[in-house]
Structures are given as C-alpha cells and as structure tokens.
C-alpha cells in the first residue's frame, strides 16, 4: 500500500509541476482556450491520481 501511495503522490506532484510549467510559459497573460484545455487535462490527471491514493487508503 505505502509504495503505491508514495508513487501516486509523486505522480500528482509531477502533474502539478506540468501545470506550473504552463503558468510559467504564459505569464502574465490570461490562458488561451487551448491552454485552458491543456490545464484541464492536467487537472483531470491529478484528480485521477488523488482518487487512486484515496482508494489505497481505504
């Protein structure tokens, strides 16, 4: 269990780094439609990973 939770914790953190990268590359402008789509894709990945962690903790 612990190994999976640790792996997924890093996976979620790394996905958030991808979101951070998007924010860095586009500062200080508002995100375009394409960029919002990309951000949402990252968020979906983070949510899925967090759900997997949650599942392991039950």
């Amino acid at each position: 269990m612990r190994e999976k939770v640790v792996e997924k914790t890093f996976e979620a953190l790394f996905a958030l780094e991808d979101l951070r990268e998007l924010l860095r590359k586009t500062a200080p402008f508002d995100l375009t439609k394409e960029q919002v789509k990309e951000a949402k894709k990252i968020l979906a990945k983070v949510r899925k990973t967090l759900d997997e962690i949650d599942g392991e903790l039950k």
Partner: protein, 381 residues
Amino acid sequence: MVQTAGGFEVRAKEELFINLEPLQRGGVMPAEARKAALSYIDGYSTCDYCEGTLHLIKKPPIADFLGEVAEFLGMDFAILTNGCREAKFAVMHAITKPGDAIVVDANRHYTSYVAAERAGLTVYEVENTGHPYFQIKPGGYADAIEKVKAETGKLPSLVLLTHVDWIYGNLVGAEKVGKICEDYGVPFLLNTAYSSGRMLINGRDLRADFITCSGHKSWAAGAGTVGILAIRKEWTEKVIKPSEGYKIKPIEILGCSARGSSTIALMASFPFVKERVKHWDDEVKKARWFSSQMEALGDIKQLGDKPHNHDLIRFETPAFDKIAQKHKRKGYFLYDELLKRKIAGIKAGKTKAFDLSTYGLTKEQLKYVVDSFKDIINKLS
C-alpha cells in the same frame, strides 16, 4: 500569496511575472528538472550509493554525466563545483603560487578578483574600451602579458577571460585570446558563466585549458548552486590532485562539492540545455529586436556590443531618469509601474541605467515589455 509552513512567502515570480532579471533567466528550470530536484531535495540525497567521492558516483549516474559534459564542452575532464567562482578559485589555487601575477579582463565578475585575492595573486587588468561599448579587445591580453613580463620578469601564471560579462553582455572573441595564451605558453581559463549552457562552447576550438561554468546562471539548474570545472587532460593531475590523507578526495574542491538536488537539477536539465544551445541564434535575434524597440522609444541607449550578441543587455535610460527627478517615488517609480504591469527583474531605484535579459522569453512577452515601457513614458513624461 500563500505562505509555506516555515513562514516564507511562496516565490511565484516565474508564474506571475515576466522576469527580466539577468542573473536568473538562464537558470529557470524546465518542469522535468524541477520534478527530479523535488525528489532529491533532502541533504546528501546524491550520496545513497557513494563511491567515495561525488564525481565517481554511478547511481544517480553522476560519473557518466560528467563524461558527457566534458565532451559537450570540447574538454577532456569535468568535475562538479559549488559554483563558477569555486571552479575559478580551484584552478588559481592549484596552478599558481601566492605572489604570482595573473591577467584578467576589466569586465570580470567580482568573484574572479576575490578568487585571485584569496589565492594571494596580483591581478593585472585588460582595460575595456570605455563608454559606450566597453569592449575587451583580445589584443589587450598580449599587452597585459608583456606588462607582467616587464614588471615581474616572469610570465603571468594564468590568463582569465570573461567570455560574456555580467554588466554589458559583451561577447569576447575567446579563440583570439586562446591563441595569444598558446603563443606565450600561459594557461588560459575561460569563464563561461553567461555563455556555456546558453550557446555552444568548444574548449578545444577556443584553446582553453580550463572552462568554468555556472549551473544556476546558464545551465537551467536551480535547487541550490552548482558549477562545472572542465579541464584539458594535461592539467588534470595538477588540478584534480587527491588529498594525501584521503586518496579519493580531490583537494581543490575539498573532496565533494554540490551533494544534493542542485546536481540532480543540472543533470536533469542537461538534455534541455543540449537542445536549447542549438537555438542560440534565435535568442540573439530576439535580443537585437528588443534593443532596437527600446531605443525607438527615445532617450534610451543600449550600451555594449552593437549589434548585440547576447541576451544580457544594459541600457542608459535618461527617458526614465527625467521622470524620476519629478516623481514623488523618485527612482522607485519605475519598479512600481513595472510591477503593476506584472514585470519584474529591473532593480528597484534604478532609472539612470539598468540591465535585463531577454533569454527564454517569447516575442509576445517581449513585445508586452516594450509596450509597457512605452506606456509608462507616455503616462508620466
């Protein structure tokens, strides 16, 4: 902005602002390197599988990485240091004796001088050409070497050239200085803190005996500080001399240098750096475009090489200094106005002259910066 548990404000300069700080642009890390550094954030994280000294570690593959770096720089050997300054000092300490003379350029970073001072050396300078270009002419090195010879009866023990300086961003013809050093038989140290990692450098072509690099300035490696010392093989025995008491530990870097996430950041950024140096010409084009747009605003003059050959640019800016004379915030108005427009990196209070870097920014971002400067002039002149 949210606070971290330690009470520090989260630093989100790259996420919220266009950051023009010349010290920082080349050290902005790509996502993959931040991920790697994050998991190696604990102290001595590189040393789980220690081989006795940092540069020999196989897991993570530090030893292989240093082999690749030496090849990338056109040198024979590379070792990690805590920064570029430590690399310069290591060479000076290893190959000179206190009281020896060395030749450096007048545009050198202060750490070149301080390193020489710590090693007990006398510094002879190659002057720059003065306002407005402030260039270092390679031929000045022959004159300085002759001066050392005439005054001390000996050749200098070392010549140091700042490939690109930190004030004007001037790029010096290093191969010409290398040729002069070769002709005199004087070892040549090329400080590439603002060049390698941004542009392709080949030490063999430049006839450099030593190349010093800054990970956090130009190799997209943050997470602390880290440098590289690259050496030609004829110098390795002298510069990478082991301790007598600890045979595996090189004396000049006190055994091991950057023992943690900064080394991992440097390694993880390396594929990104190898790719980005191929696009250096585009960076120069952007810098030149930006410089011309700034000058077109009026009462602004770019200093240093013209046309410019680097992203680090210094401007004389009477246009802003005139506003500062009458503004209630004096010279601080510019910093405030830029911050309002989400632009950071120009030092607070500077309006007579300032420097900035365009490195890694998009044309859209740079156009926004130019428009912001224009807007400030129109609003406050």
